[in-house]
């Protein structure tokens, strides 16, 4: 009996310690970033540009990177949400459960989620920039260089492909959560299947769909490897004027600052500040979406009595 007790304590202790270690590491990492990053926070830092010295902690700002990141994420969302939602609608509402095509689609989604982000970068360069962009230039501009170069729109398109599985999985979950009675009631009243989906199922699933969009945004704001060759710039004097311009990105800027800086000790405060802004931005976007979600839920509850 005594031996068993000893082993019980050891087993629970060891697994508990592992859990504690993981939580502690997260706390240490985030704590370190918040602590050192907060010192750099100021309105000048957030709204300032990099024109007066990119590596100088007293003068550098991050506004161009915030602008670029937000623009990227917005364009990406516009691209990915319709495709992701329609795919999820097909999988939950139309597809037969175990048919071959359903299984192949699911396999493709799972695989897409596992493709390394750098491969997306290569794909974006080979497909969007050179093939699609080059094609547009050839057809509409007689070979002049307008689209066949790294640009905001190609980075957003690459990112949309990368976040597609996230949106599909979250939307599917939301659609499955809508009770069958809703669909049956609508169909019984004479609505067609499409009308049922459009007017009954999708509004009910809206909070879940937004969750998917949030997750996609969180993922899209932080990935750097796919945009390195498809649109992000090391340094730009101006904000991007249109979707065919290059842009600066918070994550890429973190990489640039930490690997290209001539004096890392002097750059450190900017670096911490930029990392904190990147984390805050993703959390802020999340928070906004969570609030919207809560609002929609309350409205639905009121409408349903």
């Amino acid at each position: 009996m005594k031996i068993r007790d000893w082993r019980s304590v050891a087993f629970t202790g060891a697994t508990g310690l592992a859990t504690f270690c993981i939580v502690a590491m997260v706390v240490v990492i985030l704590g370190n970033i918040v602590w050192d990053g907060a010192a750099q926070m100021s309105l000048r830092f957030i709204f300032g540009g990099t024109s007066e010295g990119m590596f100088d902690a007293q003068k550098a700002g991050v506004f161009p990177m915030i602008f670029g990141t937000v623009a990227l994420v917005v364009l990406m969302t516009i691209g990915v949400v319709p495709v992701g939602v329609i795919t999820a609608v097909y999988l939950t509402e139309y597809a037969r459960h175990e048919s071959l095509i359903t299984r192949v689609i699911r396999g493709a989604i799972n695989n897409l989620a596992g493709v390394p982000s750098i491969v997306f970068g290569l794909f974006g360069l080979g497909f969007f920039v050179q093939f699609v962009g080059g094609g547009i230039d050839k057809v509409f501009f007689g070979g002049q260089l307008h689209y066949a170069k790294p640009a905001l729109i190609w980075a957003a398109a690459t990112m949309a492909v990368l976040t597609l599985p996230v949106v599909i999985v979250a939307t599917e979950e939301a659609l499955r959560a809508v009770p069958h009675g809703f669909r049956e009631g609508s169909l019984a009243l004479g609505a067609t299947k499409l009308e049922t989906i459009w007017k009954v199922v999708l509004p009910q699933a809206l909070p879940g769909i937004l969750t998917g969009a949030i997750l996609a945004v969180g993922r899209g704001a932080g990935e750097v490897a796919p945009i390195m060759f498809t649109g992000a710039a090391y340094y730009l004097a101006h904000l991007p004027k249109g979707p065919t311009d290059q842009f600066m990105h918070l994550g890429y800027h973190v990489f640039v600052l930490s690997t290209q800086s001539p004096d890392i000790e002097r750059t450190k405060p900017i670096l911490y500040g930029t990392v904190l802004v990147l984390l805050l931005l993703t959390f802020l976007l999340n928070l906004t979406a969570v609030l919207v979600r809560a609002g929609i839920r309350a409205k639905l509850r009121a409408a349903n009595g």
Binding site: R7, T87, V115, P116, G126, Y252
Partner: protein, 402 residues
């Protein structure tokens, strides 16, 4: 509903269901309603869009592979083997051979006048005459040179060397594979024990309160962008580890691997925890009824039942670690050396692509070999994902059947 009852019709379905329809007529009316062209078209549209994931997987493979194809087929050559030709000899050559000799395409060649051609041939002869290094006669983009060791001039034994920017570019991929495997191994050694142990604790032993803290924390960890983890490893972790272990190169496979492990922990934890929770309650209840302690239930009943899931978690973690870019690019030192020590700096496949693609000539040998590396990486993760998903799927089916 009796047959005589009026059937509510929808607007737009003009005259479909008069009050005196029979049951078969009603059926026909429903069928007619379904076959409305607008609806049919929309359904086809939805189906077409839902194929986009398949199309994307195909496009990724096609477009990354397309750029690498000439190297895969062995059509590229950067060897300088030709004998120098005089202009007279050169003009007697057929157009395609001459084009290859000068190093231009046939259509470009047709655009040149005789004078330009003569200058080009003379320049080429001069260039070839200058080449004294016998290594320059070797096509370094052949499969053999990319994967087998070669004894280069000035080396005393055959070696694996990745030096794409030296005078004679050397594209041996083995150092990069070793670098990737080394960083991945460290990452898995670090993350598998922690992730699996935490999954056992959270799913079997922890109180609901602890669970509610741990799960969001791990979600938070998976939400931290990899560039932030790379930054943390580069600035903080590297310094801490160097002070503890006193090794010479500050950035190495150990630092990169541990940071990589941080990115892999959420993957392993989530899948392992999912597998452990999907073990039916009846298993653990039976064991508890037989007098087993909770830890024995977890260790001897639940874990063995969920073992394939834990294995799948490791496989998927491996795939994730192989494909991660920013962390290893920033924290592993990026020196392409062949060594077994994890305290040496290492250069992974992903970091090589990220660091070098911006500086290569579009369409050149180096560019194509980087795409080849991308294709290989895609193939590796494709297989690991497929195997991992299959194991999870089978395990779930078995446990649900049990």
């Amino acid at each position: 509903m009796t047959e005589k009852q009026p059937v509510e019709t929808r607007r737009g379905d003009a005259g479909v269901a008069p009050a005196s329809l029979s049951r078969t007529d009603l059926g026909a009316a429903i069928i007619r309603k379904r076959s409305r062209p607008g609806e049919w078209l929309a359904e086809r549209g939805i189906f077409a869009v839902s194929l986009s994931s398949i199309v994307m997987i195909f496009l990724i493979f096609a477009f990354v592979g397309r750029e690498a194809l000439p190297v895969i087929l062995g059509q590229t050559s950067n060897a300088r083997t030709q004998k120098p030709l005089t202009p007279d000899e050169a003009t007697k050559l057929p157009a395609d051979k001459l084009a290859k000799y000068i190093g231009v395409s046939v259509s470009e060649l047709k655009g040149y006048d005789a004078e330009t051609l003569k200058t080009l041939v003379e320049l080429k002869a001069e260039e070839l005459a200058q080449v004294s290094n016998t290594d320059s006669r070797i096509n370094t983009t052949s499969w053999q040179k990319m994967f087998q060791p070669h004894r280069w001039l000035g080396y005393d034994k055959p070696e694996y060397i990745w030096q794409p920017t030296s005078e004679i570019p050397k594209y041996n991929c083995i150092p990069l594979f070793i670098g990737s495997l080394k960083a991945t191994l460290v990452a898995l050694l670090f993350s598998v024990p922690l992730g699996v142990a935490a999954a056992i604790y959270v799913s079997q032993l922890a109180s609901p309160k602890v669970r509610e803290i741990v799960k969001p924390t791990i979600e938070l960890l998976s939400g931290i962008p990899s560039v932030v983890l790379g930054f943390f490893a580069l600035i903080v972790l590297a310094t801490i580890l160097q002070t503890i272990f006193h090794y010479s190169s500050r950035l190495n496979a150990l630092v990169g691997g541990i940071a990589l492990g941080l990115a892999v922990i959420p993957v392993i934890f989530t899948i392992a925890e999912d597998a452990l929770t999907s073990v039916p309650k009846s298993y653990s209840q039976a064991a508890l009824a037989l007098g087993a302690a909770p830890w024995q239930v977890a260790w001897q009943v639940v874990l063995p039942a969920a073992l394939p899931g834990v294995f799948a978690a490791c496989i998927l973690g491996f795939g994730r670690a192989m494909g991660e870019t920013m962390i290893v690019l920033m924290a592993s030192g990026n020196a392409s050396i062949v060594s077994a020590s994890i305290l040496d700096s290492c250069r992974t496949i992903t970091a090589t692509i990220a660091a070098e693609l911006a500086e290569v000539v579009f369409g050149g040998a180096h560019y194509r070999i980087l795409f080849l590396l991308g294709t290989l990486l895609f193939a590796v993760t494709f297989v690991t994902n497929l195997v991992g998903e299959m194991i999870v799927h089978r395990l779930k089916a078995r446990l649900e059947g049990a």
